[in-house]
Amino acid sequence: MTVGPRKGHDWGMDAARPSRLDLWIGLSAVAASMALMAVVIPIWVPVFSTPRPLGLAPWLLPQASAAILGLAGAALAWRARRGSDAPERTVWRGLALAVAGVGAYVVAMPLLGAIGTGVVLTVALVLARKGPRAWPAALATAAVAVGLAWAMFVALAGTPLPRGPWEI
């Protein structure tokens, strides 16, 4: 009798076919787990020594979580070692546009204020997607979105949003 997985046996862990990408996800999870374990061990404990009993130690849950991550990653990598290539699904230009939009909010909001940044970026995102002829739709979208946001966050919830150089 053979003990252990047969060739190509999946241990029943996945319903979907594994891909080559899963191998890299699994290996990355293992690497992240090892790096985190190294970071977590020297967590400074402001008591005289390691706490007793051991279960109270502040590094126990981070260690256990990193171990779960590593073990699951290893299992995934093992399962996907003979996987096929995953189909390409990402439109990279669109991805770059969206990430740039999100990043621009983080950078521009303290400088231009929430309302100013909202108008500029809403118009920019609509134009980038629909073309320069869509400026009436872009302006209308920005007006509605910023108006609604102002009503909900400023008028109703009283949130002091960053006001920018124009104090709006």
Binding site: D14, V39, L56, S65, V102, M109, V126, T141, A157
Partner: protein
């Protein structure tokens, strides 16, 4: 108890509460009916708005969005073959062929009535079962709670997505994120990497908005546009005799939904497919399923709406969220410094009963709003997402900022958004991450209390029979899920 009921009724019976609940359901239906926007996104974005609300009002509002969104997801599934929510994917199987045959009105009516009946059953189950479970839960010590949370984490890792390993990767990341910040027991800084803003831990709302809303926005821009399906004519609605014939299917689906929803870590998607499968199994004409059988629509909708109320049972009675939306509701409780669980019924009984009164109204609101406007919502589903997504992004940014009036939280949201998008593309489910994140402190707290009470003896964790029940349930659920996955994998290989 009667005092709590009276106080709960007083809390609920104001025009603001009733109106806000209706508004929540309407918002949920609208968001659910827009392809690309999910209920989770709507509830995440609404969470910052509940800061200023009374806790009962906040939960009722979020529950309204949840229930409205669960039904709203079926509208686009039926009309344009695009499920507005993952739970509505099953409704599409028979709903869309009905719409293609010119019977969209019948399919929409079936979805609406099945949703309302299942919602009613689910709320009844919540009201009666939550109290009974609380009586049991009062006997739980920290060791039993520790095992209960382990059971919830295992289930959510196993049932979310297609891969058990990826589910556990998400749980590992969620638990790690929950440990970031200052450990209040020893005062040690954990995984803060020198960022003082992380001393209080990773903020829940920016994390949720990033993972569920910003990730959807990025995913929209990074995907090829899909051609929209068009439908012709709506036809006649559902007749009374047809509805009566559907009642056994609806009640069966509701019961399945309640059973699935009451288990921590599961969700509407599983319930709708189980209910659909059962309806097909007992049907005299199973070959018509998938070709436009209204029984299929009724079963799927009853299954996923049966979950909506029942999933609040583990949240309110045990403090353990049943799915992502209830994990967000747990966040709403935490914002107001209220811990769900047995203590909620003792210390804030009025809030519990106010929530019950609110939920009891939900089928009526659902029927009224759904019937009044289900034709109008077809127009909503045609809104151009290229105009919608920049507005959603603006709300994400302001919602994250409003938590602590901090740009650090906006940065956190941006990082979580990019990570959420990567998880979407790598098929790593975000639900286990969020549930592990909110349950992490509960795991650690109960583990430490058990260690202290048991004076470091490992046997303390296994002394109570209830601990063994949860350990057995955990093992059983893993066994059942692995078995089911093997069957699915075999089917895939056979194709």
């Amino acid at each position: 108890m009667w005092e709590d009921i009276a106080a709960g009724f007083a809390l609920f019976a104001t025009w603001q509460t009733v109106g806000l609940f209706g508004l929540g359901i309407a918002v949920g239906i609208v968001i659910g009916a827009i392809p690309g926007l999910s209920v989770t996104l709507a509830v995440s974005l609404a969470l910052p708005l509940t800061f200023a609300m009374d806790p009962a009002l906040a939960i009722i509002f979020l529950a309204g969005i949840y229930k409205g969104g669960t039904f709203g997801g079926s509208i686009t599934a039926i009309l344009i073959r695009t499920p507005g929510t993952p739970a509505a994917a099953c409704t599409l199987l028979d709903g869309y062929p009905l719409a293609r045959r010119g019977e969209a009105a019948k399919a929409l009516d079936t979805a609406l009535y099945s949703s309302a009946v299942a919602d009613f059953c689910s709320n009844l189950a919540l009201i009666f079962l939550a109290g009974i479970i609380v009586l049991f839960a009062r006997q739980f010590g920290p060791a039993e709670y520790f095992w209960l949370v382990c059971f919830a984490l295992t289930t959510v890792a196993a049932v979310s997505g297609d891969s058990l390993a990826k589910g556990f990767i998400a749980v590992g990341i969620g638990l790690l994120l929950s440990t970031v910040g200052r450990d209040l027991f020893f005062g040690s800084d954990r995984l803060m990497f020198g960022q003082r803003e992380l001393a209080g831990g990773v903020a829940l709302i920016p994390l949720l908005i990033g993972l569920f809303a910003v990730a959807e926005v990025i995913s929209h821009y990074a995907s090829k546009p899909r051609p929209r399906e068009r439908f012709e004519g709506t036809g006649e609605g559902l007749t009374w005799s047809e509805f009566r014939r559907l009642l056994p299917t609806i009640f069966r689906g509701s019961a399945i939904g309640v059973g699935v929803g009451a288990i921590p870590g599961t969700g509407g998607g599983i319930a709708s497919f189980l209910s659909y499968g059962e309806a097909k199994r007992v049907s005299k004409s199973p070959e018509t399923f998938g070709r436009g059988n209204i029984e299929g629509v009724a079963a799927a909708e009853a299954g996923n709406n049966g979950v909506a109320g029942a999933t609040l049972i583990p949240l309110l009675a045990l403090g353990v969220p049943g799915d992502v939306v209830t994990a967000i509701m747990l966040g709403a409780f935490m914002i107001h410094d209220i811990a769900p669980g047995p203590g909620l019924f003792e210390r804030h009984g009025n809030i519990v009963y106010a929530i019950f009164f609110g939920l009891a109204l939900s089928p009526i609101w659902l029927l009224a709003l759904g019937k009044l406007a289900s034709r109008g919502f077809t127009r909503i589903s045609r809104i151009d997402p290229d105009l919608l997504m920049p507005a959603v992004l603006l709300f994400c940014v302001l919602g994250s900022y409003s938590v602590n009036n901090s740009m650090f939280d906006v940065g956190l949201m941006a990082v979580a958004g990019v990570a959420g998008f990567a998880m979407l593309r790598l098929d790593i489910p975000p639900a286990p991450l969020v549930i592990a994140f909110v349950l992490g402190p509960l795991v650690e707290d109960n583990f430490r209390r058990s260690v202290r009470i048991g004076r470091g003896r490992a046997e303390y964790f296994f002394e109570d029979p209830m601990s063994w029940v949860f350990i057995a349930l955990t093992a059983l659920s893993i066994f059942a899920i692995v078995r089911q996955r093997r069957r699915q994998a075999r089917l895939l290989r056979g194709r």
